[in-house]
Structure formats: C-alpha cells, structure tokens
C-alpha cells in the first residue's frame, strides 16, 4: 500500500448559524493514496463539493485538518493556498471553467504562465497535453467554438499542465452527454495511468464509479463507507 497523498481528519464545515445553519461536513476523515483515482459519490447537497473545496484549499474547514503530501493545508494563509493550488492541486470543474477569451492552447498554458515557464517549454508542454487529450487540431479555438466534451478535455489538459500531484474534478461529466462523459472519464483514467496523478472526482455516474480505484460515499455531510 502506497502512502496517502491526501489525509483528511475530522473535517467539519457549517454554513450559516443558528436554526438555519447547514452542516455541510460532519467529522469527515479519510485518506487518498497517491496515484489512485477515488470517486466521491453522494446525492446533491450531500457535501461532495464542500469536501473537494476544503481539500483543494478553496474553502476552510471549521474543524479538522487536511494534509496534502504531508503538509497541513488548513493552516496555510491565502498565498500559501494559492501556491498549493499552483504546485500540487489542480481543478476540473463541472462547467469546465475555461477562460472564454483564451484559445485552447492559451487556456492550457495558463498554469504554466503562472509558474513563469519559458515560452518554448510552455509551448512544447501545451502541444503535448493537447495531443494527450486529442485536441491538437483545436489549439487556436476558443472555448465558445468547442463542444462541451472538447472544453472538458481542454480543462483536463489545463489541470495537468503544471504536473500536479492531485487533480480534483467536481462532477466533470455533469454537463456532458453519456458518450462524451464516458470518453472524459476514460481520459481521466488514462491520466492516472500515464501521468501518475492522483485523481479525486465527485460524480453520480456509475461508469465513473466503475473506473475509480475506490469509491467514497458521502451523505448528509458524513462518510458512509
């Protein structure tokens, strides 16, 4: 058994206060081993997105800790969290999250620009990743000119650009039809195999669950496994 890349311990997150408070996460603890693909499964409102946001440093837990690659991120300040997302954690959003004014290549190259990668290296890496997601011929097209599946592939290529240790995908097939969703899931699976990236993905999709190395179920803010 490999060492856990992500260690979640006793995470709680509540939105609001008083009688209307929503307990999105209640004492959640689990580990994700490196190089694995873990599916986070639950109904809408079960706390999946909140858990992913807390693990990705986009949200802070009220209690508990999250360790990424052995580093407790709950104590990091905003700049530390940004650095974390830049170096170790990447996101793939349900609505793709591409920057509309950038071409596919520029979207993929954005994390590399953030890391101030020299232009030549950046262009080479972008070409490689677009090849990987099968969009080499669409490099200059903008998101608005791509299909949903193509946009999500670009999003995955962008997520891989900075060679993260952890890729968090929040319902990446939620906006896609079944066939496209399956191809995206296959791509993510392939990425785990080829890049050695750890993928934490929330989904309702049984196919996705089938492709995952492990399925973690969450309901009403608690792990159900």
């Amino acid at each position: 058994m490999t060492a856990p890349l992500v260690t979640v311990r006793g995470i709680s997150r509540t939105f609001g206060a008083g009688p209307t408070a929503v307990h999105a996460l209640r004492d959640v603890s689990f580990d994700v081993e490196a190089g694995r693909m873990v599916a986070l499964v639950g109904r809408s409102g079960s706390g999946k997105t909140t858990l992913l946001n807390v693990i990705g440093g986009l949200d802070r837990p009220d209690a508990g800790s999250v360790l990424i690659d052995g580093e407790d991120i709950t104590g990091l300040d905003e700049d530390g969290l940004s650095q974390l997302r830049r170096d170790k954690v990447s996101y793939v959003f349900q609505t793709f999250g591409l920057i509309p004014v950038l071409s596919a290549a520029e979207n993929v190259g954005a994390p590399l620009r953030l890391a101030r990668t020299p232009a030549a290296d950046r262009e080479q890496r972008v070409r490689l990743l677009l090849d990987l997601v099968g969009l080499a011929d669409h490099a200059e097209q903008r998101p608005g000119e791509l299909s949903g599946g193509q946009q999500q592939r670009v999003a995955i290529a962008r997520a891989l650009a900075a060679s993260p240790r952890l890729l968090i995908a929040d319902e990446p097939t939620g906006q896609l039809d079944a066939d496209t969703g399956r191809s995206v899931m296959a791509l993510l699976r392939g990425v785990v195999e080829s890049e050695g990236v750890t993928v934490l993905v929330s989904t309702h999709d049984p196919v996705m669950m089938a492709l995952a190395d492990r399925v973690v179920r969450i309901g009403d803010g608690r792990l159900e496994q």
């Binding site: 997105t49 650095q83 830049r86 959003f93 004014v101 950038l102 620009r113 232009a119």
Partner: protein, 1036 residues
C-alpha cells in the same frame, strides 16, 4: 403589469435608483439650462439695460429756430414726447437752449453775444465767484468771456431789443457769477463750444462772421419765458431702466423709434428743425442679440449634456436589460405578450421619468440659484433665489420623459431575437459613426460659413462633433488593444497578459466605451472652451482698449494733463495718443474708413495691448517708428506770455496766423495761435495757452499770405517776424528754420536768430504764382524725418494692396503726410478689425510741423499698468480700462451665463462618467464572479486576481479616457474658434486662439483616471475577495 413593476422595483431598487439618478441628473441639467435661457436671460437684459452707459440710454430732442412766444410751449411739448417715448420707465429730463445772436452793446466791431439757459448748470460748470442765477435778470459768465468783456460780479449789461421778424426783447442783465466750464460737461454743444469767445463766428444765419462772446448764462425758465427766439434747444431724457423686462424694453425701443416723427408732428411749424436722436433702441437690439448669442451657447451645452445623459442612460438601460434577461425569458415563457412587456417597460420608464422630474424641478431651481450666487453670475447682478418657471418645469418633464424613452427602446430591443439584433447592430455601428462624422463635418461647415446670427446648427454642432469624434475614437481603441494583446503573448507571466487578453478580446460594451470617451471629451472640451472663451474676451478687450487705461478726451488736451493722469493712475507710463480717422485717397476697402493711432512707441511694450503674432512683441514691431532722441526746446517759465510783431516789404500787405508748438514735461504738445493779423509791425499777443512748469517752445510756424482783396503775380517780400517771450530765449543751437514741406521754393533764405527774449525769423517770400499752398516759415527745435514710418493693419494692407516697404500719402486733418509702411500687423491697438495705421506720435508731430501744421493730433491719453483709476474725477472724457472691458466681456450680465453653464457641464460630465463607470464595473462584478473564482482555482493569489481585473479595466479605460481627451482637444482646435463670438455675434478680433489649459486638463484627466481606477479597484478587490468556494458552488 403594475404589480410586476411594483414588485420588481422593490427587488431591484439599486438598479432603478441608478437609472433614476442618471435621469434626474440629465433633467436637472436641462432645467438649469432652461432657467439660464429664460429667467436669467430676462434678468440679464434688465440689468444690462440698467447698466447701459448714459450716452447710449439717453434720448435727445434737438430743435432749432424757435420763436420767442412759442419757446415755453415747445419745451413742454418736447418733454412730453420724450417722457411718453420712454414710458413705462420714469425719465429725467435736462434742457439747454441758446438764444439767437444779438449785438453786444458798446462795441464798434459788430460783436455779438447770446443768452443760454442750462438746467443742470452746476453739474456742468464750477463757480469761481458769485452764485448761480436764481432770479430773472441774473446771469453767469464763463471766465474767458468775463475777462475779455472786462465784466465781473455785479456788472450790468443792457441788451437791446431785436426786430420783430426775429424777436428778442431788450433785457437788462446783472452778472452774479463767474464760472469755469467742466470738461465733459456738454459744452461741445454750446455755440462757442464753451470757449467763451470766437473771433470769427458764423451762426449760419448769414454769410458774415462776427466776433462773438458768450454765453450769458441765465435761468432756463427765464430764457424760454423771456420772449427771446431760440437758435437751438436740446432736451435730454434719461430713463431709469431698473426693473426692466424684455417686454418693457421692447415697448421703450418702439417708443424711441417713433419719437422723431411724433416730435415733428407735435411741434409743427413752431420749430424749424426737429430731430430726436438716441442710441437706446440700437443698444437694446444689440443687447438682445448678444443675449441670443449667449443663449445659443447655453443651449449647445444643454444639447451636449442631454446627449451625454442619453448615452449614460443607454448604458444603464443595457446593463439593466442584461440583468433582467432571465426574467424576460421567463415572462416570455409564461406567455406574456410583447405588447404586455412593452407596456411594462413604458410604465416603469414613465414612473422613473415622473419621479426624476419631481426631483429635478426643485434640484434645478436650487442648482440655478447656487450658480447665480457664484462668479461670474453673482458679479453680473444675476443672483437669484430658487425659482420655479413654467419653461423650466416643461423642459424638465419633457427631458425626463424623452430620456426614459431610451430605456423603453432598450427594453424592447432586448426582446428582439439575438441573431437579427446582432446583424442590425453591426450594420448600425458601421454606418452610424460614419453618418455622425458626415453630420459633424456639415455642422462645422455651416458654422464656418455662418454670419452674425445664431441658429440651430450652432446649438447642435458641438454635440455632433464630440459624439462623432467619440464614435471614431472607439474605432481606434480595438487596434490599440490588439497591439497590447500581441505584446502580451510574448510575456511569460499570467496576470498582466491575461488582463491584456481580456481587454482586447472581450467584447466591450459599446455604450460604456462611448460614454467614457464622450464624457472625457465633453469635460476636457468644457474646460478648454471656458479658457478659450475667457482668453478671447480678454484679447478682444485688450485690443479694443489698445492699452491698460485709455482716456478719450472730450475737449482738446491741456498742458499739465499728463501729470494729472499720472497722479490719478499711478501709471508707469502715460502717453498722449491719437485715435482718429485718417484719409487715404479714395478708400475702397470694406467697413469703416481708416483710422490713425499714434502714441509713444518708445514704451510700446508697456503701453500697447493686443495679441501680436508669434513670439514678437510690440517693441519689436514698432522698432524704428520713433525719432532719435528727445526734443530740447526753449524753456518757458510758468505763466509765460507771447507776442508776435512782423513786417513785410513791398506794396502788397501780408497776413499771418502764427502758431507756436509747446511741449510739457509729459511730452504733450499743444498749439498756441491767434487770429490772423496783418504784418504791420504791431505787437500781437498770442492768447489761448497758459504755459505751466516744465514747458518748452519747440516750434514756430509763420504762414504768410496776401491780405484779402490783394493779388500778387510773383512779388517778393522780405519778411521779418519777432516772437517775444517773457523770459530769455538762450541759444538756439539745435533749431533749424526752413520752408514748410513740400517746399515750393517760395520761401527764400530763411534765417533764425535769438537775442534776449526775442526769436527773430527772416525770409524772402515769393507771393502769388501757381502754387496752391501758403508759403510757411517753420522753425523747429528738432529735425523731422521726411516720412512717417508706420505699421499698418492687415485690413488696410489688403484693402489698398500695400505691404512692407510701400509708400503712401495720407491726410492728417488737412495736412498731407508721407508715410512708409514699416510692417503689417493683424490689428492695431484700439482699432480691432479696422483699417488702421500705427505711428509714433512724436514722429508724426514732427512731420506735421515740418509740413507747416505745428500740431500734435492728440485726442486721448494712454496709461500703462495703472495702480488705481481716479481719472473720472478729472472730468477729461471717457475712461476705459482693459481690465474693466475684460470684466464687462467676461462677467457682464449678457455673457455670464456661458461660463456659468460651462462650469456646470464639466462636473456633470465627470459625474456621468463615474456613474457609467460604476455601473459598468458593478455589472462586471456580477457577471464574472464565477470566472474570477475559477482564476483562484487556477492558483492565482488575490493580488494577482486584482491585477488581472484592474489591468483589464485599465487597458480599456485609459485608452478611452485619453481618446476622449484627444477628441476634446481636437474639438477645441476645430470648433472653439467658430463657437466663440464677439458681443456683436461676429468673429472676434483678434482671432480666437484655442487654449488647452494643460494644468487643468491634466488634473481633470488625473481625477478621471483616479476615480475610474478607484471604482475598478474597489470592484476588483470585492471580486477577488468573493472569489472562492461559494462562487464555485453557485456555478455548479
């Protein structure tokens, strides 16, 4: 639908408040402009009329040859005509009259005298002894008359009766006072112009000339009831125009125009000649015209403000429509018909318009009142409390409703299918700005070609030009951003390149860009127009006055006046000046005849005012006009007297009218002369001048002619003339004597010598012949140049086709003077737009003297840099100052509305720009919240996100602001020279020089950049802070 509007208003009140604020601002501006062109304009006309110079507001009735028995009735009838002409204003009348000439008793020289009655005599003369006439038979004499007739207080004079055909009963007069005429006291209208004596006066009733003394000043009522026939009478009516309104002014203008025929009809045969003269009607018409010019400019500003508000509203409406897109779709899906949705839009827009109007009416009244209490309106006497006027309410309501039509149109446009709309927009945008440019060009051309009248095109032109410029500038921004995009691609970082990409590639709201560009253009144009207008008014004032302080003399100058003016002004330089008509052959140029302006050019920079071309100054331009060195004549002690005795050989008696040219310490030259006398060897005193301390005799002229009735065919007479002074003459080292120019060769062997107190002139004079000039012997203490070097105005140069180096012969008075054109300037000081000649007064006087006319053509005083202005107390004439004229032009009641409204336009444009900017970035905040959150997901720090957002706005805003400033600057150069008008509506003289006030404009742009940056910065900060899990959850 009403319920929907109500609920939506509750839910979306911030949006509606923004719309309401913009409409209210626009309607308020319109309301203020409406008050400026109605209420303030009416008040301004009244104030201007009330401030009109006495000369321009008085109405004078002249009558002549009134029979004695009719005199009193004619006076009453004339007063009635005048006062009724000036109704409804009360008027004060002042009458003066002179009797026909009647023999002076006890004289064998057929001397004449006359009686005068002057109603406000104590205002026109000062008593030196005795008292003013209070009863019948009492008379006051002017000092020269009393002296010459050897009369004093208590003397009695009996004037005999005159024949019945020109009745004048005998009258016994007692002299009860001696008076001295006050300068500017209206004595120019006395038969003898207040001189008290004239050796050869002709009153026009016969061909004969008489030695005439007078007047005997008696009570006016005594004169008109005493039975004496009146040779002339004038009654001046001065209205009190306070509280004037346009209607009452129109009434009085009509009354004055009709007064002349009414007086003629009323007096019938009782007066030989009647005439009513007044500049009042013309003055009021000119004031109305000037007011129209200001109103046109105010309306132009109103149009500009309306366009700006409409663009701001278009932006607000567009953002609101975007905000309601989902709601609109839902309503459509729920089955609301387009008509129902249109009704909803109309109801909402109507409600906004009504609320805005309800707010704008009192707001505009308050703003107008506040504006009127600030300079320049307050100084112009236009301060007024908050007022409500019908026109104001109408304009505000109509303006608010019209503006909200924009909202309705945008709401309906949002209903249109996007595909069709996109195509239409592309078509519209590609053509609309070009159409605007075409209209702006047409407007400019019309403006360029117009006359003195104001019209619609003047009102619309600035708005057309600015909006066309802004629309064109918008086309320039995308290429600039594309350059930034290309540069950004080469960068390795993300935040700034991403900002550049966002700016260059994201479709920008055209309305936002147009508003920002147009508002920046309007604000910068407003500032520069204000400065250009003020500069032009100051330039016009400077050129019109020609110097810092000018005194147009009502009476001939007297020795010592220069010192008095220096004391009254504390001026650094005081110079006598000439400012009069000039004859140049057959003048065929346009406009008024040429003018002669002459003053001391050795102090040109200090003395002359008026813009000169390039980097030149008046000293450079007038270099070479002044003669070399001062004149050193024969010093004269104060109170010196002169007498001339002369003899001539031969059988034909000769006559002469000797003239002496004296110069006082201020450089003023005056002429002393006497009546013509025969060269009989007797001493003839030269009267008429009283030397003061520091005076010098600098020239003597002795014209020699045969006595009347004699004819010579070439006889030669040896003439000897001796001028006796009351002090030793001394050496005449620098003096020369010669024949007056042009030398006809009639004066032979002229010679000059001085012994003791006598200057002796000798020459042989050839009489008769074919020469058409009087041989004149001229002795001068200076050398006179052969010609007068002058600089001339461009109008004169073009009018007669001369240029630098040309030679002309001009007529100064009756003396021909050769002049050389040493330069051409756009305009001569004090003669804006006129064909004019500028000469050095010293040179001109020397050349005139050399031509046998020893005079200095002085009719004004010019003073440089006066520390004070107490000249009016000297009663010398009309005093005009450059600063006063400038204040009249810039802050006079008829002009004050323009700078006031310009000062309102600039903050309004800034406010609308900020409002548009805030609306735009706030909309951006809402629209891109998720996108910004994802940037955080990419790993951008809050600072980097702020950099991206702020950079993106900066990339768009700064080019737009500078493009707007560029449009404002271009408009300044293109249109302000055509927009700024003189008070007559004609193009100003000198030409308008566009001013771009760098400091104020830089500050304005800095404020705009800072304000926009602050708005964008705040929004970027909020966006960066909000960018987090919550936004991502919303997106999911």
């Amino acid at each position: 639908m009403i319920a929907l509007v109500r609920r939506r208003a509750r839910a979306q009140w911030p949006v509606l408040a923004a719309l309401l604020a913009v409409v209210t601002l626009g309607a308020t501006l319109l309301g203020v402009c409406a008050l400026l062109v109605t209420r303030s304009a009416d008040v301004a006309l009244g104030v201007a009329a009330n401030r009109t110079d006495a000369e321009q507001s008085t109405v004078t009735a002249y009558t002549s040859s009134v029979s004695g028995p009719d005199a009193a009735a004619v006076v009453d009838a004339t007063r009635d005509v005048l006062t009724s002409a000036l109704a409804p204003f009360p008027a004060r009348t002042a009458a003066r009259a002179s009797s026909e000439l009647r023999p002076l008793p006890g004289r064998d020289d057929d001397a004449r005298t006359y009686l005068s009655g002057v109603e406000d005599l104590p205002d026109r003369a000062t008593l030196t002894s005795g008292h003013w006439p209070a009863a019948a038979g009492e008379a006051v004499l002017l000092e020269p008359t009393a002296e010459l007739l050897r009369l004093r207080v208590g003397s009695r004079v009996h004037l005999a009766a005159k024949p019945p055909e020109n009745p004048a009963p005998a009258v016994d007069l007692t002299v009860v006072g001696i008076a001295r005429p006050l300068p500017n006291g209206g004595w120019d209208r006395d038969l003898l112009a207040g001189t008290g004596y004239q050796a050869d006066f002709n009153d026009g009733s016969t061909m004969r000339r008489f030695p005439t003394y007078g007047p005997f000043l008696i009570g006016f009522d005594s004169l008109v009831t005493g039975g004496s026939s009146l040779s002339r009478m004038e009654i001046v009516a001065r209205p009190d125009l306070s509280g004037a309104t346009p209607a009452t002014l129109a009434t009085v203008a009509t009354g004055v125009r009709d007064a002349d025929p009414r007086l003629t009809g009323t007096l019938g045969e009782r007066a030989k000649l009647t005439r009513v003269a007044s500049e009042l009607a013309d003055t009021l018409r000119a004031q109305q015209h000037q007011q129209n010019i200001t109103e046109a400019a105010v309306l132009a500003v109103a149009v500009l403000a309306t366009v700006l508000t409409a663009v701001a509203l278009a932006l607000a409406g567009r953002l609101t429509a975007g905000l309601r897109a989902a709601e609109t779709s839902l309503l459509s899906a729920m089955g609301a018909s387009p008509v129902q949705r249109a009704v909803t839009a109309v109801v909402e827009a109507g409600a906004i318009a009504l609320v805005a109007a309800a707010l704008a009416v009192p707001l505009s009244a308050l703003v107008h009142s506040g504006l009127s209490h600030l300079p320049p309106m307050a100084g112009a006497g236009l301060a007024t409390g908050p007022v409500l006027a019908g026109a104001q309410v109408l304009v505000v309501v109509a303006g608010a409703l019209s503006l909200t039509v924009v909202l309705v149109l945008i709401a309906l446009r949002a209903e249109a299918p996007h595909g069709d709309r996109g195509r239409r927009e592309v078509l519209a945008r590609s053509g609309a700005d070009l159409l605007l440019v075409a209209f702006a060009a047409l407007g400019w051309w019309q403006l360029h070609a117009r006359g003195t009248d104001t019209g619609l095109i003047e009102v619309l032109a600035p708005a057309l030009l600015l909006i066309a410029g802004a629309a064109l500038a918008l086309r320039l921004v995308p290429p600039a951003l594309r350059v930034a995009d290309r540069l950004a691609r080469r960068s390795d970082g993300l935040p700034l390149p991403l900002a550049a990409f966002e700016a260059a590639r994201r479709p920008q709201a055209a309305a936002a860009g147009l508003l920002i560009c147009l508002a920046a253009a309007t604000a910068t144009f407003g500032l520069s127009f204000d400065d250009t207008w003020h500069r032009s008014q100051r330039d016009q004032a400077a050129l019109a006055v020609g110097t810092d302080l000018a005194v147009a003399l009502a009476v001939p100058p007297m020795a010592g006046q220069g010192a008095a003016i220096t004391a009254a002004t504390g001026a650094a330089v005081v110079s006598p000046a000439a400012d009069r008509g000039l004859a140049i052959g057959q003048w065929i140029g346009a406009g008024t005849p040429p003018r002669l302006v002459a003053a001391d050019t050795t102090h040109a920079n200090e003395l002359f005012r008026g813009r000169v071309p390039g980097d030149q100054d008046w000293a450079t331009l007038t270099r070479g006009l002044a003669p070399g060195g001062p004149v050193h004549g024969v010093p004269l002690p104060a109170g010196s007297s002169f007498a001339v005795s002369a003899t001539g050989t031969g059988d034909i008696p000769l006559t002469t009218t000797p003239a002496l040219l004296l110069q006082d310490s201020s450089g003023l030259r005056t002429t002393c002369t006497t009546a013509a006398f025969t060269l009989d060897g007797a001493r003839h005193p030269i009267t008429g001048c009283v030397p003061v301390d520091g005076m010098q005799l600098i020239a003597v002229a002795l014209p020699l002619d045969t006595a009347p009735g004699y004819f010579s065919a070439g006889d030669i007479s040896a003439v000897t003339a001796e001028l006796r002074l009351s002090a030793p003459v001394g050496e005449l080292g620098t003096w020369t004597v010669a024949s007056a120019l042009p030398d006809s060769g009639q004066v032979l062997t002229p010679a000059l010598a001085a012994t003791g107190t006598t200057v002796r002139l000798t020459a042989k004079v050839q009489l008769g012949g074919s020469w058409n000039q009087t041989p004149t012997l001229v002795a001068t203490a200076f050398r006179a140049p052969r010609t007068v070097p002058v600089i001339i105005s461009r109008t004169l140069a073009d009018g007669i086709g001369v240029t630098t180096g040309s030679h002309l012969d001009v007529l100064v008075g009756n003396t021909g003077v050769p002049v050389d054109v040493a330069g051409v300037v756009p305009d001569v000081p004090s003669a804006p737009g006129a064909a004019a000649v500028l000469a050095d007064l010293d040179t001109l006087t020397r050349v005139l003297t050399a031509h046998g006319d020893p005079q200095s053509p002085v009719d004004a005083w010019w003073a440089a840099a006066p520390a004070r202005n107490d000249v009016a107390a000297l009663h010398l004439g009309t005093v005009t100052t450059r600063t006063g004229e400038s204040a009249r032009l810039t802050a006079g009641p008829l002009n004050a509305g323009l700078p006031a409204v310009l000062r309102l336009l600039v903050p309004a444009a800034v406010l609308l720009l900020f409002a548009g900017m805030i609306l735009h970035v706030t909309h951006d905040l809402r629209d891109r919240a998720v996108e910004v959150a994802r940037l955080r997901g990419l790993g951008l720090t809050g600072r980097q996100i702020r950099t991206v957002l702020l950079g993106q706005h900066a990339f768009v805003l700064i080019p737009l602001l500078f493009a707007g400033a560029l449009v404002g600057a271009l408009a300044t150069w293109i249109i302000t020279p055509l927009m700024v008008r003189s008070e007559t509506g004609a193009p100003p003289v000198p030409e308008v020089a566009p001013v771009w006030p760098w400091a104020a404009e830089s500050l304005l742009i800095l404020v705009l950049v800072a304000g926009c940056s602050a708005a964008a910065g705040i929004v970027a900060t909020i966006q960066a802070r909000r960018a987090g899990a919550a936004q991502l959850r919303v997106a999911s």
